[in-house]
Amino acid sequence: MIHRLLAVLSFVFLCVGTASAEPLKWGGPIGSQTSDGYNALGPVVKQPIEFPHYRHARDMGISCLYCHTGARRGYVSVIPRIDKCIGCHQNIESVRNKPRIKKLFEYWEKKEPIPWKKVNDLPDYVRFNHERHVQRFYFRQNRPIREVCGYCHGDVANMTVDRRVKSLSMGWCISCHQKDHRENDVSMKTSHGPYECWQCHK
């Protein structure tokens, strides 16, 4: 009898438990993605121009901050304005007739913005501050920029079109904010990121 009782009870608990578990949203419970819990490869996004990050960042060694100028001074990292692309490319004759560059110039001549698709798209109520992270880890801790950006964005320098590689979920953010990070490259003093709601949520 007692086994039956247990069976019934566990059935009840199972039902209740399933009902109260949170709906399966993106991210899911801890550990549901991959080995470290947060590596979650996003979908392949088709961009209007298949921008080769590897060409710029790896082959040419251009710093991320050269194009994404907002990352050091504002919340938004900024997709470069078209005249920035043109500024260089009008002097690079060797690739001038490549299809992707032609497309770029088409936009430029029409004076139309390029409708890039957002790859690392946080919910609208989250305000990620690029400036704070770049200032802290690049300018103060003096870590290589590709490492600093790569912590969230992955190895973009080896990608063509950017693809999301981390879950970008709240737990993932907090897991890092709770770690002690060195204040700067000389001091051994550490501090952690803030974890109060209004730092990120608006």
Binding site: M1, I2, R4, L5, V8, L9, V12, V16, S20, A21, E22, K25, G27, G28, P29, I30, S32, S169, M170, G171, I174, S175
Partner: protein
């Protein structure tokens, strides 16, 4: 020498039992089975009519809730800062209702007041169903019910916890625990009866009861385990019941609102809960007695005892109520005093006075034996008491919002909208529906306990002789439990 459980029981019975004739000691056990199982037979037309009506009422509530879910809480005509309304009031009402079951089955069980035996089963069912109803109100009340799981403490992807300081988290936990415990309690207490049902059922019902009765054979070992389990769960349930309503009271008592910020709130709430629960038991007692012809079991002496109990609790409640008023009145809290005056004289004054009348004056009728023995009068009174207790909950919630600390935000125009009323009405439909289903699926009188009672009554009368000697029928058809 006490060697067996039965002997112990007899000894105990001897000590505690009233010599009153609250049940005929010569009812044949088979007759008990027959009478009770009759209530599980194919229902009459009237049952379906009432059932469909309840279902319709419930559907009204459901559609109101769907409308509210889609449109926003505004359809309930709540406002800032009058953010709580009938939902919370009715929520407390249902929570309160749930206490009677525990009182009858657990508290009186431990106290060995065995007159509870014929009536505790439906009281327990009432406990479970009113808790389920109350739980619904928590959901209905939430602005974003689709996110309710944020209240539950479980490891999640966001690395967030609920706020353990909040009485609402205690509330959610307590209600959930109480609900599961009382469901288990109800179920455990039903196992021997389910076995009787199993033995008398055929077809689908047979396998249903077979599954639920968990192979109950009525062996000594089973009985021994059963009693220990039942007693344990009962002991567990009592503090839980008291704490649930105390916690509901702390929802109010820990807040700054005038009229809520009172230390006597927890006992006040518990008393109110038992009060409304007892009144509801009387109502259902009378209804079941009439519908299922349970006159043999739900006898007038039992009704009278329940009424006396109700009267006693009503006096406790009245006392605590007066304590609340007088401590506010003689207290130093300007806001609370103003709120009290507002209740007595403001927009809610008719309801407040009606609440006091129904809650504190009407129960005095229960002091009269003639009224206690008059079934129609008892039906009316018990319903009135429950109306009074429902009003009490509403009067705790709404006037305080309408006349709080901050005068600028006192109410402009606050009257619950049809949606609020619809959902409140729907909750009664829901409760009624569940209760009716229960009565048709499970025995609403505990057969084995009634048998026990009859047995003990006969023992008391005849000394320690074997009950079978007085009543040879008992030996036939399977003994105490089949």
């Amino acid at each position: 020498m006490i060697n067996t459980f039965e002997e112990r029981d007899v000894a105990v019975e001897k000590r505690f039992i009233h010599k009153e004739k609250d049940i005929r000691e010569d009812i044949a056990w088979a007759q008990i089975n027959k009478d009770v199982l009759k209530s599980l037979e194919r229902p009459r037309m009237l049952f379906w009519v009432i059932f469909i009506a309840s279902l319709a009422l419930f559907m009204v509530g459901v559609s109101c809730e769907i409308y509210q879910y889609q449109t926003g809480m505004g359809v309930a005509n709540l406002d800032n800062p009058h953010v709580w309304g009938l939902y919370i009031g009715t929520f407390i009402f249902w929570i309160g209702m749930s206490h009677s079951g525990t009182l009858l089955s657990a508290i009186l069980h431990i106290m060995h007041a065995d007159w509870r035996k014929p009536i505790y089963r439906f009281a327990e069912a009432m406990t479970t169903f009113s808790l389920m109803t109350a739980g619904l109100f928590v959901m209905v009340h939430l602005g974003r019910v689709w996110q309710f799981y944020y209240v539950v403490a479980y490891p999640n992807e966001r690395w967030t916890w609920p706020n353990f300081q909040s009485p609402l988290v205690w509330d959610a936990t307590a209600i959930f625990t109480y609900l599961t415990s009382s469901m288990i309690f109800l179920y455990i207490g039903m196992i021997p009866d389910l076995a009787i049902c199993r033995d008398n059922a055929t077809g689908f019902r047979k396998s249903f009861y077979t599954f639920l009765s968990l192979g109950w054979m009525g062996t000594d070992r089973q009985w021994a385990n059963f009693r220990v389990t039942y007693l344990t769960v009962a002991c567990f349930l009592i503090p839980l019941a008291v704490s649930v309503h105390s916690i509901v009271a702390t929802d109010f008592a820990v807040s700054q609102q005038p009229g809520w910020h009172i230390t006597s709130f927890p006992p006040y709430f518990v008393a109110g809960a038992l009060y409304s629960g007892c009144a509801a038991i009387i109502t259902l007692f009378i209804v079941l007695r009439y519908v299922f012809r349970f006159e043999e079991y739900m006898t007038m002496p039992i009704l009278e005892k329940t009424a006396k109990l109700t009267f006693a609790i009503a006096m406790v409640w009245t006392y605590l109520n007066l304590v609340e008023y007088s401590s506010t009145w003689y207290g130093d809290d300007m806001y609370a005093k103003q709120a009290l005056i507002y209740r007595a004289t403001g927009d809610f004054a008719p309801y407040w006075w009606m609440m006091n009348f129904l809650g504190s004056v009407v129960p005095f009728t229960l002091a009269f034996k003639r009224i206690r023995n008059n079934i129609p009068a008892m039906l009316v009174i018990s319903i009135l008491l429950n109306v009074g207790m429902w009003l009490e909950r509403w009067m705790i919630v709404s006037p305080t919002f309408a006349n709080g600390i901050y005068p600028w935000t006192w109410d402009h125009d606050q009257w619950p909208s049809l949606v609020q009323w619809g959902i409140v009405a729907g909750s009664f439909g829901w409760f009624n529906m569940l209760f009716m289903l229960f009565c048709k699926i499970f025995p609403s009188v505990s057969m084995y306990e009634v048998k026990e009672m009859v047995y003990h009554r006969s023992l008391v009368r005849k000394g320690t002789e074997d009950a079978t000697q007085i009543n040879p029928e008992l030996a036939v058809e399977g003994g105490i439990a089949s």
